[in-house]
Amino acid sequence: MVRFENVGMRYGMGPEVLRDISFHLRPGSFHFLTGPTGAGKSSLLKLLALSHRPSRGLVTLFNKEVSTLARDDLPAMRRKIGVVYQDFRLLDHLSALDNVALPLKIAGARDEQIYQHVAELLDWVGLGNQVDAKPPTLSGGEKQRVAIARAVINRPQLLIADEPTGSMDAEMGLRLMYLFQELNKIGTTVVVATHDLDLIQRFGNPVMYLKDGLLSSRSAANIPAQFSESEG
């Protein structure tokens, strides 16, 4: 599903923010990605979301090496990936409903098929009353739920979430984590970046630990209790 081999990444001419990253995610797996702030979690997810290219190394998604892809192949690949961005990236002038419907529209679905489905999903994430609200009028947690709904609406094969529950209370956060778990059960490969060590402990999924641009993988029981602990 996903394979990184000696991947390095830098922004422009800046320093490498990711160094020698190698890992492999099997189809249907569920991983957490954690590490201190600035470690490069979002950067790694940008590589997964086909939003940036690695500056070195090989990234393979859906059995295709990314650097060999033609520009025309990218949209089809991206439609198989759902992404929840740390900064949501909703379109401010569209209603919550239209924001969530966007991936379906872009993929060419017809309107009547779209809206019923979208309204149900928004209802499920607790935004049934705010389908017509524009993102600037929503709270942080509400925006985040719209972003999550948009990421899962067309049942992606790979779901990437960057701090998906950071802006909401623990209860709602758990509810959405269960949504991810459900999607994982029907075959979606899930990667969730989070600072929330309690959440990681509670779910017990394998963890990728990123620090200073370097990756190590460990089990949930084996992560430091605090990021400041300089260990490993």
């Binding site: 086909l50 939003s51 990218l74 991206r78 379109l91 991936p103």
Partner: protein, 295 residues
Amino acid sequence: MIKLFGKSAELQLEKDVSTRYLPVVISAMIFLAALSIGGLFSLSNAINTWSETLTGNLTAEIAYDPAIDLDQEVTTAVKLLSETPGVTAARAIEKDETLKLLEPFLGKNAALSELPVPRLIEIIIAEDSAIDLAALNEKLVAAVPGARLDINRPWLDKMVTLGRSIQVLAAAIMLLIGGVTVIIVIFAVRTGLIMHSEVIQVLHLIGARDNYIAEQFQNYFSRLSFLGALPGLIVAIFVMFIFNFLVGSLEASMLPPLSLGIEGSIALLLLPFLVALLTKYTVRQVVLKSLGRMM
């Protein structure tokens, strides 16, 4: 109209303040273009009329002089003219005929036959002949005193040349207008691309193809161009009507009224569609080129 061009649902380009000036500029451009087209086609019609006059006939005139035998003079002149290379035929116009030509001005009158009317000779010039009319005139005067060639041909010749030059100028102006329009559109689109770069990026990451994004831009901008073109065209047509009205009210004006003909009218009416197409194509190129630089 909105339906015809589709709308830019996700980009909401309609809300851009930066592109609001575009219809105004397009309007001005179309106004100028319409006037150029008006000039171009009217001139081409006028030139055709002049050229027909040119290839048609020419007259020589022998002044009335009771002291000489006019018939003899006419015969000499006809002979000289007929023998000139480039002249297909020269024919004396009989006195009766001349009088008939004058009838509308003088009325029917028996005393008319006593009038000192000049004698006329009709000369038919071969097509594409390059007769030096001034030289022929001199020759004619030398052979037949009192004769005079009606040399409006060189004047018309110059008019045709002038007309053609103005046509070339009008065509150049059209090209210039087209070029400036393209440049204006390019700048407007670039601004739009920058203003919407974030939305474009999101659309891309959700899996939108370049074409999907380009269509929203091209539809929006060609709609702006089309809607901007209409008032420009209407004002230009109005101005041409006023011009014709003023020309018509001046008696014996030097200026011919504007007459577009069918081709000219069609060209005018096509103008908004042409500018919409030009905009669409330009926008598409700019957007695709810019998107090609993104991953």
